[in-house]
Each structure stands twice: as C-alpha cells, then as structure tokens.
C-alpha cells in the first residue's frame, strides 16, 4: 500500500486501468448483492423489520449518553472492565496497557474495522506484542502487508492465484497445499490453530454492545471470533461508542437484518454474545464455568464519533457495517475499496470518513457518487446516504474546498438563471456555439473541463430554438 497513488483521482484512474481488479470486485459485489436480494425476497417481514431496526438505532443515538452509561454499569456488574478512548492513540495505549498488565506476549485477533481505524497492530508490534489476524481474509491481508478493501469481505480484490502465490512465498506452501480454496483454507487453519492454542490474549471487535445486559455481540462465519474470545485468558473487545443497542430483544432484530443484508444469511453462523468473563464459583473451583476468558475488557472508542452525535450527519451512526451499500454502489463496483484510500470505503465511508476526520482530508469522497440512491435502497436501517453526501458537498464549498471552476461556473450560471432575459440570450449563444462545434449534431471534443465528458461520449448540439421560443410562436 505504500506504493499507492497519492490522490483519490489517481487511485481511481489506477483502479479503472486494472480490468482484473474490476472483474474481481464486480463478481464479488454481484454475488453478495444477489445473495442479499434472495434472502430478502424470502423474508416477507423484511420491510417492517428494517423499519424497526432503524427505529432502534435512531432511538439509541438520540439517547446515546444514557445507554453508554447503562452499558458500562452492566459490564462492570458482570465483572468486566470498560475503558474509554477519546482518540485512536488513547485506544492503542489502553490495549497496550492491558497487554502489559496481563503479561501478554501473543495476541490472536478477530476481524475488527475499529482496530484498522486506530492502527492497533503497529502499536502492539511497537510494544513487543505479536499479533496474529485470524479471520482468513484478514490473515491473508496481514501476510501480504495489505489493507482490507471491503468491510465484510476483506480480500475481494485478490484472486485465488494471488493467495496461492502469497502462501508459497510466506508459508513455504507446497503446490498441493495451494491447489484450491479449500486446501488453502485448511493450510491457514493449521497455522492459525497453533496461534489460538497458545495466545495470551484475544482481541475482537464488537458488532453490538447490549446496554441492559452488558453483553458484547460479535458475528462470525468462520468461528475465529469464538476462538479469539474463548481460548485466551484475556479478552479485549474494541467498539465504536455508537455500537450500542438497548436490549437483547433489540439485538435479535439487528442480527436478523445484518446477516441477510451482509451475506444473504438468515443469521451469521456464530452469533456470539459475551457477557463478562468466565464465571467462577466462590473458591475458583469446579463449580464455576468450565472455560472462557478470565478477564474481560471493553474499549469504547470515540475517535471523532461524539462530534457526529447531534450533527446533520448523525444518521451515519446508525450504520451496522453490513457492507450492502458497498455491494450495491456502482462506483464501488468499478473502483473497489482501495481507491477510496480510507478505512471505510464505499458509500458509508464517503460519509463516515469526512464525518470522523474532516473534509480537509476527505473532500473527494463525497464526490464519488452519482447520487443514484442504490445505497439508500439496500441499507438495512435505511440510512439516507445520498442526503448526507449532498450535505458534505455543501460543507466542502463552505470551507472553500470545492474547485474554483465548479463554484465559479455555478455562480455565473445562477446569475444567468435568475434573470430570464439573460438566460434566453445565454441559451441562444450556447445553441450557436454547440452547433458550430458539432458535426451532424454531435460534438466529439469539448473545450476546458468539459473535455473530460467528451473523452467517453459525444455531446449534442443544442436546438436552434428553445421550447419556450417555439411555444411563444405556437401561441401566436
């Protein structure tokens, strides 16, 4: 990734110039979209369930301070610890501290987008703690020193041949061991199993935190999430502060829309609810729970989220990270996740990144949309992403970050369009100019910034007379 082009537009051009990447992304997104569509077609209550899921998320964000306090008290009641991180640096420091406190040398890690966001792995490495990613896709990402390109399916940008090459190079795999996907998965399983059995600490994300019960829920298909949170003696769950739901019943609703929207599953294979550490009897004897982590820590990460609460972008905090908006987005389908250059790509990322980290860094992402609305249509909690992309474009202009040719051009256009007589003269001029440039009614090459239009498509000459002129004539 260090070789990745500097600007968003350069990264987009690079992605567009890579047909193998485009084919891989298109196949993956279309497979996931069809899976989603089929699952939803088979679930007649999906629409009411989505409405309810949205109501739960909206209500929770509207009372987030209340539910965060309740969640904290509930986790503590179970004997767990809650840590608060205002920034990514603090979050990393907290996890490093927990590791030190428990004498941790090796960590197994489940999939967590927040851990990517706070750049946890380099922080732990710096502290001398060895981290092993255990989700198959994330493991491959880690081996290749790469980044996930999708929030649910991290390596849709890689082919099985890429993975085979990687396993040969990094794991000295034999030809037989990389002959097909099942054998490569089996090889990874053997390597990772060793890590699971001896790790001192497991780090997971948290799909949801349940305020009433102090539970953290993670959903995984592979089972690495259960291993990570059950085998090592210490479990640390990392969660954004917005990931709370009030009750277990609410969690049930979220799980039903999450699995269907993400992968077309009625439920993810392991819907794993963890409430505190292993429960011992009074003497630490055999009357207590057989297994589970001895220590249970939850790290609540703010890192820009609290500033979104109460803003016109608050709705993005409803997101449950299913990835359906990525799969349905025609832009994401063309360019894949890496072109965004952000932890969270796709439509959700185009709102979330500027919301979390500001438009100065992420001004280009809200432009990466034709505003087609496909993301809003598939969102399990009906987040109006196009509305917020538009809000962000307005903010971009307010901050003086919109290119001058756009703002100046539109201001001139406004001056003309609010003066009908001037507008008519401008129409006549444009008609004359376009007809002069055109051959047989079509312009092959436009001047200035509009040249980018005519790279791929012709532009029509305008009509000799406008509708309104002709209409006036008809009335007379």
């Amino acid at each position: 990734m260090s070789t990745s082009p500097a600007t968003f537009y350069e990264r987009v051009d690079k992605a567009i110039g890579n047909p193998a990447l485009q084919a891989a992304v298109r196949n993956a997104t279309s497979r996931m979209s069809s899976g989603r569509d089929a699952a939803i077609a088979a679930f007649p209550e999906m629409d009411v369930m989505r409405d309810h899921a949205r109501a739960i998320r909206a209500h929770t964000i509207a009372r987030l301070d209340h539910y965060l306090r309740e969640f904290e008290a509930s986790v503590q009641r179970r004997g767990g610890h809650v840590h608060w991180a205002a920034t990514s640096e603090e979050a990393v420091a907290i996890v490093v501290d927990i590791a030190r406190q428990h004498g941790v040398k090796t960590v197994v890690k489940g999939k967590s987008m927040v851990s990517e966001e706070i750049e946890l792995n380099p922080g732990l490495a710096l502290a001398g703690v060895e981290v092993l990613e255990t989700d198959l896709g994330e493991y491959i990402v880690q081996l290749d020193d790469d980044h996930p390109s999708h929030i649910v399916m991290p390596i849709i940008h890689k082919s099985r041949h890429d993975v085979a090459r990687l396993f040969r190079a990094k794991l000295q795999a034999t030809d037989d061991e990389v002959a097909d996907a099942p054998r490569m998965a089996a090889l990874a399983r053997r390597v990772l199993r060793k890590g699971f059995l001896q790790a001192d600490m497991g780090i997971s994300g948290g799909n949801f935190g349940v305020a009433a019960t102090g539970s953290v829920c993670i959903t995984t298909n592979e089972g690495n999430g259960r291993m990570t949170t059950s085998l090592p003696r210490v479990h640390v769950a990392l969660m954004g502060i917005e990931r709370i739901v009030p009750t277990l019943d609410d969690l049930g609703v979220m799980l039903q829309v999450l699995g269907r929207s993400a992968t077309g599953q009625k439920l993810t294979v392991y819907s794993n609810v963890m409430s505190g550490p292993r429960r011992h009897d009074r003497n630490g004897g055999r009357e207590g729970e057989s297994d589970g982590p001895e220590h249970f820590h939850v790290v609540l990460v703010d890192n820009g989220r609290s500033a979104i609460v109460g803003s016109e972008l608050a709705e993005i905090l409803y997101c449950i990270r299913c990835g359906a908006c990525l799969n349905s987005c025609p832009v994401y389908q063309q360019i894949g996740g890496h072109a965004y250059g952000s932890i969270y790509p796709g439509p959700v990322g185009a709102v979330l990144m500027p919301a979390l980290q500001g438009l100065h860094t992420w001004r280009d992402l809200p432009q990466a949309s034709s505003l087609c609305g496909a993301c809003r249509e598939v969102c399990p909690v009906r987040i109006d992403i196009p509305r917020m992309l538009l809000e962000l474009r307005d903010k971009t202009t307010e901050l003086g970050l919109t290119p001058i040719w756009v703002t100046f051009g539109l201001t001139v256009f406004r001056q003309i369009a609010t003066r009908p007589a001037l507008f008519r003269r401008a129409q006549a001029l444009a008609s004359w100019a376009t007809r002069r440039l055109a051959t047989d009614g079509w312009i092959k090459s436009l001047p200035g910034h509009m040249a980018r239009w005519s790279k791929k498509r012709d532009f029509p000459a305008f009509a000799p007379k406008t509708f309104q002129q002709l209409w006036e004539g008809r009335k007379r």
């Binding site: 496909a374 256009f413 003309i416 008609s431």
Partner: protein, 244 residues
C-alpha cells in the same frame, strides 16, 4: 377540464424541445390543458448536487416565483428535476420564512409526468403505438428519489407494437450524475460502457427513459460507439398515437 402547468426543464427547453412538445401533445390528448409559465430557467439541481447551495437556493426561489402560489398542478417530464422540486427545494429553503412554505406548497402540487398520468388522471392506456422494439431504463432519481417505478412500466406496457425488450441490470445507474460525469469521468464512462452493453444485449432498437439528462448521456455514448440504437423520452413514445 384539468389544467396543469408544465415545468419544461432547462435541458428539454434548450436541447430537446421536441420532448416538451410531445409532453404537451400527450397531455392534451388526455384532455388536459397545458400552461407554460414564461421565464422558466433551471430548477437549481446542478448547483444543489455540486454543493453550491446558495446558488441553488437562488434558482429555487426564481422557480417558485415563476410557478406562483395557486393550486394548479405542476407537471415535470423529468424524475431528477421532479425530485429537486419535490424533495430538495423544500429542504434547501426550510429556514427561509418567506420561500420555505412556498417551496413546500409547490412540492405538494408537483408531479413527475408518468406519476401525474397514472396516479392523478388514472390512465395507463394513452392510445399510443410504436413500431420500435423498446427497452426501458428506469432513471435513478425518478426510480429511487421519487419512487416512480410502476407508473412508466404500466404506461409502456399498454403501448401497441412489438414486445418490449427486458434490459439487463436495468436499475443500475448509467453513470451520469451531473458533474459526476465530468469530475469522475472514467468511472462514469465505465458505467456507461456497461449500460450500453446491456442495452445492446437487450435486442432493442430504442432506449426509453423519463429523464433527458440520462438519455443525453447514454445517447452520447451510443453515438460515440456508432451504435444504431436510438433514444427516446417516454413522452415521445406515448405521444405517437395509434391513429397516426
């Protein structure tokens, strides 16, 4: 006698006046009297979508002044301009004590063309016939912004002539998106390529849509590729009467 005001849209006004006349002819055939309030310019959508909201507000106010404060329905043969008037202008002007309520009132009496014909007039068979093999692209703003999905399909279904040709991946964006097609020209072009491949695969000789902006984009791509497929606004298809 039903009377409506036509919001002709700047693109139809300037580039495709025949679509405006087809819209008028169609409505008149259905017994509707059409007024065209003078001094129409642009609804402000290009400025709105590009983040120049102050400019968009000025244009939206002009539009409100042009269409006045009566209760005559306003009909617009474009899903995206319809979405601008119906959803976005009231949002833009919500803090404007004078124009805010007027924007909301205008939104409440504005209809996309097929919405007006099917839902208000209650007509699906407009007496049209077409010799073309038609395929239909549901333009995004009409489809998802206004939720106008069944109306154009119902109208097309009743057009006499060769059977319709289903369009693969019909509901995927053609890549237009206003200035998006300029700012992210390569991505937009890549989407356009795919849309055109699907149009050609449909076996149709004419692509129909309800937004001339998307049609302009797709037609520009078809022409560049030398394709024989034509494009038509749905109003043009519906205006071709059976007796003609």
């Amino acid at each position: 006698m039903t009377r409506v005001k036509l919001l002709v849209t700047c693109l139809i006004d300037t580039v495709y006046p025949q679509v405006g006349f087809s819209t008028v002819a169609l409505l008149e055939r259905l017994g509707v009297t059409v007024d065209v309030p003078p001094n129409q310019t642009c609804c402000g959508q290009p400025a709105f979508n590009s983040g120049s909201w102050d400019d968009a507000r000025a244009m939206a106010r002009h539009l409100i002044d042009v269409f006045g404060d009566d209760d005559v329905p306003v009909v617009v043969p474009s899903g995206s301009c319809g979405d601008m008037v119906i959803h976005q202008a009231p949002h833009l002007l919500k803090d404007d004590s004078q124009y805010g309520p007027r924007a909301a009132a205008l939104a409440a009496r504005t209809y996309e063309l097929t919405q007006f014909i099917v839902d208000v007039l209650g007509v699906t068979d407009v007496g049209a016939r077409s010799g073309d093999r038609l395929t239909y692209h549901p333009a995004c703003h009409g489809l998802r912004g206004l939720g106008v999905a069944r109306q154009p399909l119902a109208l097309l279904e009743r057009v006499e002539g060769p059977p319709r040709c289903p369009l693969p991946e019909a509901e995927t964006c053609c890549g237009f998106g206003g200035l998006f097609a300029v700012k992210l020209s390569e991505v937009s072009g890549s989407l356009l390529d795919r849309k055109i491949a699907n149009i050609e695969a449909s076996g149709a000789d004419t692509l129909v849509a309800t937004d001339v902006s998307c049609l302009m984009h797709i037609a520009g791509g078809l022409h560049r590729k030398g394709s024989a497929v034509k494009v038509k606004h749905l109003a043009e298809v519906l205006a071709e009467g059976r007796s003609q």
